[in-house]
Amino acid sequence: MLSVDHVTAGYGVVPVIREIFLEVGEGETVALIGGNGAGKSTLLKVISGLIKPKGGRVFLERTELTALAPHQIVDKGVIQVPEGRRLFPRMNVRENLLLGGRNVRARQNIAPLLERVQILFPILKTKEKQEAGTLSGGEQQMVAIARGLMAMPKVILLDEPSLGLSPLIVGVIFAALSQLKQQGLTILLVEQNVRLSLKIAEKGYVLENGRIVLSGSGKSLLENGQVKASYLGI
């Protein structure tokens, strides 16, 4: 469904990611793992159109996304839940959700979409009128994921959804992700929590120094010696 075809990109002269090749099939959950500075967020920024790659192309089904503006990519069905939540802090929860759901496809379905995310995270209903900036980190992450879901995405890109959260909340977030996966959502998950993400992912890619060094099924990567040594501390 989402294919990244030999993408090279960066901010200055030196590329941060090189020749990245990655496939996310329809209904699949794919984990992208790697340490700090490996280029995970850069790749997501390329997919979302925030940075234009120096080489390579990005496709959603048969549509090329590479030359499109960020808002056009959202219209096509790719939404990103950015690292650090990036909610609109002085807007309430409801307004944040509405901003997620303003693309052409979602606009017709605001009421059912709202209902769906409020069932997934009941806190969204009880704190509807609260300013997003005053929520706890875990609540903010729930709003951020829900805001992404409001876009009625074909593919959702999640950048470090468990970053800085307590183990309890991480459990809640991952439970919600498996629920979304069961509902058939296509997910590209960027995570430092390698164990949890490889458990729910069909497929995984390991990114090191801007290159994919390893890929395979979630299960095989969990058992891979190199992954164990570098990311699982075993």
């Binding site: 979302s48 960020p70 808002h71 939404i79 950015p82 609109f88 802090p89 002085r90 307004e95 303003r102």
Partner: protein, 291 residues
């Protein structure tokens, strides 16, 4: 004694009425700043330009300033789109001083252009309400022109505030102001909103100018004075705070007319600035500003 009270009350009311327009002019600055981070030093000069356009329309076609609104508002909206597309947009990625240079350059072009075309004299354009006085009870009376200015300026000012707080476009504006990149990721067409808001900001001057042609006397260099007033409401309200800007407009209007009433002349004209400085000493982040 009753006379004094009624004179003071009259001045307050006149100040409130002017304040509606000051808030409106400032709101343009606040909105543009919120979505682009740009400050337009030629803001007041564009308003001055709208007033001179009224003068021209009045001279050429004997058009009442209130009717010129139907020309100036759409014309200035289009002017805003063009200015943004050809000039302002290009400074977005540049250093902040670029837009200062650009707009100060526009100040000189507009002011000297006006001087060349209309000459250095003080001018005003009468409208059909010039001699109308509306009395409210037996305490005071207001001039029709002030009343219209207040009603239109107030309605448009608070209408825009409602738009910002309660509509999809308003949410997009606030989203861009609070986190531009996150707004992009949610599918907000940032470039389009920026251009639209800039054009609305200029169109507001096309609205404010004609409303004031019979109240203020214009001269080629008075745009900078208007810009200063707009910047004061922008800062006094709490930088980037929409409601604060509108409220600051009223404060500015009232302090100006009270200053004129009780001190008059140069000292009177200094009162709004003095109040502004005092306010910033006690509330450095403005009336509704935070942090």
């Amino acid at each position: 004694m009753k006379m004094d009270v009624s004179v003071a009350l009259g001045a307050v009311i006149q100040g409130v009425m002017m304040g509606a327009i000051y808030g409106l002019i400032g709101l343009g600055i606040t909105m543009v700043f919120a979505v682009t981070g740009m400050l337009n030093f030629a803001h007041g000069d564009f308003m001055s330009l709208a007033m001179y356009l009224c003068l021209a329309l009045h001279t050429a076609f004997n058009l009442d300033p209130y009717l010129s609104l139907f020309v100036t508002v759409p014309a200035f909206f289009v002017l805003g789109l063009l200015l943004y597309h050809f000039f302002f947009r290009r400074t977005l990625k540049a250093e902040i001083l670029m837009v200062v240079q650009l707009t100060l350059g526009m100040v000189f072009i507009i002011e000297n252009g006006v001087l060349m075309v209309f000459g250095p004299d003080y001018r005003s354009v009468p409208n059909f309400l010039l001699t109308t006085v509306v009395s409210m009870g037996d305490m005071f009376a207001v001039r029709g022109t002030y009343l219209v200015t207040f009603l239109v300026g107030g309605a448009v000012g608070f209408g825009l505030y409602w738009l910002i707080e309660s509509t999809d476009l308003g949410r997009q504006i606030r989203a861009i102001a609070q986190d531009r990149e996150a707004a992009q990721l949610m599918g907000v067409n940032v470039a389009r909103v920026q251009m639209l808001i800039f054009a609305i900001g200029i169109a507001l001057l096309g609205l404010a100018g004609p409303l004031l042609t019979s109240i203020l006397t214009m001269e080629p260099y008075f745009g900078l004075h208007l810009t200063l007033f707009a910047f004061i409401t922008f800062v006094m309200g709490g930088v980037g705070n929409f409601l604060g800007t509108l409220i600051a407009g009223y404060i500015l209007g009232v302090t100006e007319s009270m200053g004129m009433l009780y001190l008059g002349g140069y000292y009177g004209a200094a009162v709004p600035y003095a109040i502004f400085v005092l306010l910033l000493i006690f509330r450095p982040h403005g009336i509704l500003g935070t942090k």
